[in-house]
Every structure is written in structure tokens, then in C-alpha cells.
């Protein structure tokens, strides 16, 4: 079970996480992209952190605001994708003061569907979706197995990390890395790495 306060803690932790890992994400993006993913994520999540002193009706309202903020501060491919993710997460959580594991599952699923709709990536395209898809599955399985929010998120984060590592041999078919053709193989996808960080941050804070 998670509350608005937990979500606040999550988004604050997320900004710190992205700042801490910015150079690393940019380094990944240098290899098969344009060397800005870490800067983009750090800028956007810092803008979100600046929203956290205001008060919100519920987690849904905060997540919506966070999504809009990401859309208007990140730019690039990741801005609309992560922005849409948070905007869509808000739907299933509207009006809920207590977020149960199943609620969060529905929110995550809605968010990831948003990413898919925007980006049209499929599994194996070497994008953030390759971290999201197994994470969703692992989350649901954990919930079915009776795990709480924290446990389910830990399972999701672990699956995301595996998905991220699985992008390494892939040849990209979406996003900027796809221009590299075969040369994109042998590198982790930066977006899959930031997705993993996002879920690890959630597991730490929404427990």
C-alpha cells in the first residue's frame, strides 16, 4: 500500500537518482545516440522535484502534473514517452488515497500502454519498452503471488534490469539508434537503463 506521501518521496528520489546517473546515461547515449539522455532525464526530473512542495488532492493529481512537466521540460524522444507514462498512470489512481498493489499494477499498465501508443515500439526493438514489458509481467505475477507494493516493484525492477541487459545484443529498430544499423548491437539501450532506474527508485520509496 502506498500513499500520496510515498509518491512524493518517489519523485524526489527519482530526481536524485537521475542526477546521480546522468553521466552514465549520457555515456550510453553517446555510443548509439546523441549524448543527451542523462541530461534530458536529469533536467526533467529536477523540474518534477520542484513541484513537490505544493499540495495535491491525491497521487493521481501529482502524477498528472509530473507527466505534463516531463512533456514540457525533457524534449527528445524520452520526453513525450515518460511524460505520457506519468499522465496515463494517473487514470487508474484517480481519487484513491490508498494505492494497493493491484491499483499500482493497473496504473503501470496504463502508463506503458501510453508509451507503446506514442512510440509504437515492439519487444526486441531495443527501446525502453524492452525493460517495461518484462517489468509489467513480473509485477503482475508478484501481485498474483500475494506480494505487496514494495515486493512487486522489486520484482518489476529486477525484471527491468534483465530486460535492459537483454537489449545489449539487439539491433535497434526504433529511435535514433536504429540509424546505426548493425553497429547498434553490443550496447545497452539508454532508455531501458533509465526505466530500470525509475523502477528501482519506485521500489525503494513506494514500499
Amino acid at each position: 500500500m502506498a500513499t500520496l506521501d510515498d509518491v512524493v518521496a518517489w519523485l524526489r528520489d527519482l530526481a536524485g537518482t537521475m542526477k546521480e546517473h546522468a553521466a552514465e546515461l549520457t555515456e550510453l547515449d553517446s555510443a548509439i545516440g546523441d549524448a543527451d539522455h542523462g541530461t534530458n532525464m536529469a533536467r526533467g526530473t529536477a523540474a518534477v522535484a520542484a513541484l513537490l512542495d505544493e499540495s495535491y488532492d491525491d497521487a493521481a493529481a501529482l502524477l498528472k502534473k509530473a507527466g505534463m512537466t516531463l512533456v514540457s521540460t525533457v524534449g527528445g524522444a524520452s520526453g513525450p514517452l515518460y511524460g505520457t507514462f506519468f499522465l496515463r498512470m494517473a487514470g487508474p489512481l484517480a481519487g484513491k488515497e490508498q494505492i494497493e498493489a493491484a491499483d499500482l499494477g493497473a496504473a503501470l499498465r496504463a502508463g506503458v500502454e501510453g508509451i507503446q501508443q506514442r512510440g509504437k515500439a515492439e519487444a526486441g526493438d531495443k527501446t525502453m519498452y524492452d525493460a517495461w514489458a518484462p517489468a509489467l509481467e513480473a509485477y503482475d505475477e508478484a501481485v498474483s503471488g500475494g506480494q505487496d507494493v514494495g515486493g512487486s516493484l522489486r520484482a518489476a525492477a529486477e525484471a527491468a534490469a534483465e530486460g535492459r541487459d537483454g537489449t545489449e545484443p539487439l539491433v535497434a529498430r526504433k529511435g535514433r539508434a536504429s540509424y546505426l544499423g548493425d553497429r547498434s548491437a553490443g550496447h545497452l539501450d539508454p532508455g531501458a537503463a533509465s526505466t530500470t532506474l525509475l523502477l528501482e527508485s519506485a521500489a525503494r520509496t513506494l514500499g
Binding site: 546523441d34 512533456v71 524534449g75 520526453g79 529511435g175 535514433r176 540509424y179 544499423g181
Partner: protein, 337 residues
């Protein structure tokens, strides 16, 4: 403390400080919204004229901000370096330049640019009812298997399109016609680029990739990303061949149709080498019996300080030639005015 060879203060402030400089240097041409990072034509909105909005990551100067003015763009949205701008910027620009005849969004085909402009067009439509049409440029022949990629990138043709469509808008042509013309220009042009060096994104602080002294990247985009292939360095003659051949293979053109030949420096290649390369390109085209009716040589769509060059060929007809020759008055491209 300073170990980056860049004339900047804080990497975070590069874009806004450069915009300040643009505003100060071109007070007669431009009005700059520093908060939204949008560069406007001084007299926008122009009543009854279709508004032209483009934008993209910064670091490609003079594109797009340098192409704002009479006969070209009405507004350009500046993103962070190599990062597409955000929907807020495009919506602000769209609203500000609409002179009642609708607005064309000129978008280079990169996932980020396309998605952000898409969101902006959705929102503009919902919010304001302004008619928005979009053209996505994708002229880069380096990207071949467009089924297995994000599709061909938008590169050099974007500059030519902004000029040609800008002239048509200035004539008062309606939005549908403008959008069709934009599509036609995009479909009539092809580009290919190479890099001799990488470039350094200010916030990253070091070159995006490393390249040996005896090799170059063929088939690059404009974001300092590595190209399709690394090849051994060769003479200007051979390099020109490697750029022009794949373009000609793919360029829609009937016998006898003239072309516009555009040799573009990526930012760090001296003009003397660009002219030398233009000579090679012109020689190849002459051998293929292709008349170069118009040309452009210089740094127009760049990747920061990258050394390199792209070639764009655009098949011309009388309408396009007339529109190319029409007056233009922007910081980056100017004639007849």
C-alpha cells in the same frame, strides 16, 4: 577547471544565452521569446499568410532560428542542444504566428521531434482550432531499411524546403497548397553526409565518439551520432563519389530535369574545403549529364563543431526555381531583399 574547448558559460545556459545573442544581433529581423525559447519573425503574425513553424534541437545553427524572416519561417522553436523542443514551445509558436490562414509545422524525421510536434498539433487543434498541417522531412539516403528503422532522417532538404515553401507562403498560397508543396519538395530531394570528427555536446563535455586519424564516418545524421559505417579516409574526389552515388541512385528525377546542388558544412569544415568539394560534386553531375541550375555552399545545417560535410540534391522544376529565387531576408539566408 575549464577543460572544454567551448565558448560557453554554464552548459545549462548555452541555448538561452545564444538566443540572447541572436536577439541582440538581429533586432530588425527577429523577436525572441527567451522564456519559451522561440524565435519569431519581427512582424509575425502576417495577416492572411500561412504561418511556417519549425524547430528542433539546438546546435544546428543557423538552422532553424537563422531562417526566420521574410520569405522563410515565421517561428523557430529551439530545443536544448540536440534535443527536440517540447510541445509547449510549438503551441506558443503556432498561436503566435497564425495569421488566420493556418500553420505548417516543418518537422525533421527524428522520433523525438515527430512525437513532440505530434503532441503540439493535437493540443493546438483541441485548444485553439488553428488549422495545422505537418510535413516531416526525411531525405537522408544513409538510412536504407526504413522498415527496420525510425525511417530516413530529415537533413539538408529541410533548409531548401523552408526557403521554397517560405516563398510560396509569402505569395499567399493557401495551407493545403503549401502542405502539398512541402511534401513535393521533401520527396524531390535526397541527402548524404560524412563526418571527419565528432562533436562535443556541452552538457556531455567530451566528444560523442572517437574516430581514428585515417577514417571517417559515412552516413551520419546531424546530432553528432556515429554514422552508418566507418570507412578509410580518402581523397575529396573519392569522398564526393561516396556521397553523390547513393543520392543519385535514389533521387526521383527525369532525364533533363535540372537540380539544385547543396554542399553543406557540418560546422568545423572550412569553406575552402566546401568549395573544393562542390567542385567535385559538380564534376560528377556534369559527367552524369545533370545540370546544376542552382546551388548553395556553406554551413547551413550543422552539428556544432563537427568537421564534415553533406550533399543534398533537389530535383527542380520552374515553380521550384522561381520560389528559390524569390526574395528572402533572414539572418542565415538572404537575397533580393
Amino acid at each position: 577547471m575549464w577543460d572544454m574547448k567551448k565558448l560557453i558559460n554554464d552548459p545549462e545556459d548555452v541555448v538561452v544565452e545564444a538566443l540572447r545573442g541572436m536577439a541582440a544581433a538581429h533586432p530588425d529581423h527577429l523577436r525572441v521569446d527567451l522564456e519559451k525559447k522561440v524565435i519569431y519573425r519581427k512582424d509575425a503574425p502576417v495577416r492572411g499568410k500561412v504561418g511556417l513553424v519549425s524547430g528542433g534541437g539546438s546546435g544546428h545553427e543557423p538552422m532553424h532560428g537563422g531562417f526566420v524572416g521574410l520569405g522563410m519561417l515565421d517561428a523557430a522553436c529551439a530545443g536544448e542542444v540536440f534535443t527536440s523542443p517540447v510541445p509547449d514551445q510549438m503551441m506558443a509558436a503556432t498561436t503566435a504566428v497564425d495569421g488566420g490562414a493556418g500553420v505548417l509545422h516543418i518537422v525533421k524525421n527524428y522520433t523525438g521531434d515527430v512525437m513532440n510536434f505530434e503532441m503540439a498539433a493535437e493540443m493546438a487543434d483541441a485548444d485553439s482550432g488553428i488549422q495545422v498541417r505537418t510535413v516531416v522531412t526525411n531525405d537522408d539516403v544513409a538510412v536504407k531499411d526504413s522498415l527496420y528503422t525510425a525511417g530516413r532522417r530529415g537533413v539538408g532538404v529541410t533548409v531548401l524546403l523552408e526557403k521554397i515553401v517560405g516563398a510560396a507562403a509569402e505569395q499567399g498560397r493557401p495551407l493545403e497548397e503549401i502542405a502539398d508543396l512541402a511534401t513535393k519538395v521533401n520527396e524531390s530531394g535526397r541527402s548524404m553526409g560524412l563526418a571527419l570528427t565528432s562533436c562535443t555536446v556541452p552538457s556531455a563535455g567530451k566528444p560523442t565518439f572517437e574516430l581514428g586519424d585515417d577514417e571517417f564516418e559515412l552516413g551520419i545524421g546531424i546530432h553528432g551520432e556515429p554514422g552508418r559505417e566507418r570507412r578509410p579516409m580518402a581523397s575529396a574526389r573519392e569522398l564526393a563519389q561516396q556521397l553523390v552515388e547513393p543520392i543519385l541512385e535514389d533521387l526521383p528525377r527525369k532525364d533533363g530535369q535540372p537540380v539544385l546542388a547543396f554542399v553543406n558544412g557540418m560546422g568545423g569544415t572550412p569553406l575552402i574545403e566546401q568549395y573544393l568539394m562542390f567542385n567535385e560534386v559538380q564534376t560528377i553531375l556534369a559527367k552524369a549529364d545533370i545540370q546544376v541550375a542552382r546551388s548553395l555552399v556553406g554551413n547551413y545545417i550543422t552539428s556544432l563543431e563537427m568537421a564534415g560535410l553533406s550533399v543534398t540534391l533537389l530535383t527542380l522544376d520552374d515553380d521550384l526555381i522561381g520560389l528559390w529565387d524569390a526574395p528572402v531576408n533572414t539572418p542565415g539566408l538572404r537575397w533580393g531583399a
